[in-house]
Symmetry: C2
Subunit: 344 residues, 2 copies
């Protein structure tokens, strides 16, 4: 039985997921996940649809049937969900502690029917994945238990990519707001209360004026090395037009986002080789009557959705865990310069 527990001091939630593993010897070689064993079939490949649970959604060629071939992007439930969709959301206390049943959604977005396709190298495929994610988030918004849907991608061993390389990303819908997003919402609101401007828009304007951390730009989007990057080559992609809700973006702008995302990832791959990375999407939580927050009033004006691309090239250790402070050995300006010098 999985449950959500809240750290009583700082309010951080932890998913205690007993279904995933348990015996200590399972942890012994965390660093050495193997590749697929010879003869092992990939459950994410076209033709192997019966190896997964029935699909939740798919972008399919006209006339093809669910759970058979003919799809371009396919969404399936996670086989090891950290949160489960069935059941009620039960919150209770245990002495001074708070806990909650682990309800929510955990879906896998298979990004291509082909095993060897690289998500980062095809703008059209990226656009399809974005379109499917928009559809799924809009659908999950109708579930009142869910407050936020996190889109994320783990690529490569050091970034938690797992032993099957087939390109995929994930959607996790959570019954609580995310700590990281809350921190951004609170920071953005404080800035807005003081200046009556969006802090992300201001950042983007300053970056575009100086140019020294801009990596890619198109009509609707800009990719920049983040000024206070935690990780070497950390890059944020933002819509130029102010907007707090990713899932309400105009479908007409999706190909433009696909172009910028591909451009950044292709440049990174040329500079860094086949590097491990995570991508996360930060957007406004679902605003529900049942969940009014003090930042709801201004959120349309002060918050700005964005993707964070996080190459995992350094190791987080005691200093970072203890302090919440990061050490980054590559100045973001140098990262931007290296990425700009390369032909994508």
């Amino acid at each position: 039985m999985a449950e959500l527990r809240r750290d009583p001091v700082i309010g951080r939630w932890v998913i205690i997921s007993t279904e995933r593993a348990a015996r200590p010897d399972q942890f012994k070689d965390i660093a050495e996940e193997e590749a697929m064993s010879p003869g092992e079939k990939c459950p994410f490949c076209e033709g192997n649809e019966s190896m997964t649970a029935p699909e939740i959604y798919a972008l399919r060629k006209h006339g093809t049937r669910p759970n058979g071939p003919g799809w371009e992007v396919r969404v399936i439930p996670s086989i090891t969900p950290v949160l489960q969709i069935e059941g009620d959301l039960d919150r209770h206390g245990h002495g001074m502690y708070d806990l909650m049943s682990a309800r929510g959604a955990h879906e896998i977005v298979v990004e291509s029917p082909r095993h060897t396709d690289d998500f980062g190298l095809n703008a059209e495929q990226i656009s399809k994945v974005i379109n499917v994610s928009l559809d799924r988030i809009a659908d999950l918004e109708r579930d009142n238990r869910i407050k936020y849907v996190l889109f994320f991608k783990n690529y490569g061993k050091a970034a938690g990519g797992g032993h099957i390389k087939h390109a995929r990303s994930q959607l996790i819908g959570t019954p609580v707001n995310l700590k990281r997003v809350k921190e951004e919402l609170e920071g953005a609101k404080a800035y807005y209360d003081y200046k009556e401007r969006c802090i992300f828009c201001d950042m983007m304007k300053q970056e575009m004026a100086s140019g020294k951390r801009v990596i890619s730009e198109s009509k609707h989007f800009v990719a920049m090395a983040h000024y206070a990057s935690r990780f070497p080559f950390e890059t944020w992609i933002m819509p130029k037009k102010h907007s707090c809700d990713f899932y309400r973006m105009s479908r007409g702008e999706v190909p433009d986002l696909g172009f910028v995302m591909r451009d950044v990832l292709a440049r990174m791959k040329k500079v860094l080789g086949d590097f491990p990375y995570n991508i996360v999407l930060h957007t406004a939580p679902f605003r529900r009557e049942s969940n009014k927050k003090h930042y709801w009033e201004t959120i349309d004006h002060d918050y700005h959705w964005h993707f964070e691309i996080l190459p995992i090239l350094t190791r987080v250790a005691g200093f970072e865990w203890g302090s919440g402070f990061y050490i980054n050995p590559v100045p973001p300006e140098d990262a931007a310069r290296m990425l700009n010098e390369i032909k994508a």
Copy 2:
């Protein structure tokens, strides 16, 4: 030139440390640090003192001379300091951004003169390391630029332990308060404002009454699996007597802390094998007139210092980076039970 940059939205500080590395090809095999090469001499071993910068401090046998043999614990400056002691603390803005020169302290505490000693297996040696750390923190407190000293330990590859195995921990003195400690201070203050009790004391009382997460106990200290553990087998060690300042602890209680720390680490080693881990110390920041915070008024009553032992057995990936939420596959009660069943 290293500098500290503040994330404009959430206020997280990042050390942009250009002196540590730079070329992208240096990151290519983050996962495969090698062992020492044959013939390589360990700079931390007794007899090799001339391989390091002159010692800052050492616990020495009577009559032995600095920078020669005869020591039991030896403190030296880091050869790759993330913060440097020389120079003034310069804060300035850059458009909307804030930055600061990277001033502070970075010291290595060599925990034993012998290369093969294991920090976790000798209570007496642990006590010596604690005594030396107390002395160093008290000394660094006199430097007005430093607001906090973080004691931490990285053991094993996955925990950032480096390629030389010689037992050591580190002290980093920072010119800003730590985000993680600030979160604890604010949570503890909110609880105190409401209940007029220390949240850590309350947690400890509830844990000692139930017993199901207690791992080790002595006259002055208790070790518990943390209720909302981020990591499998995460364990906190706290003084039973309320106190916010580690560096003001009674020297008479140090051997008792060494006993509990050894007991926990030895049990973990029996259950988990030679596991990678981090240890971090959370204590009150230095209270200075120049740095008055709203939580200073109650900090003596509401904050409680503690060590966090964090085994690194799982991988943090997109979900954790994006959400600030953690997934822990081992319920803390199960961890405590397994550690209790073993003979230490």
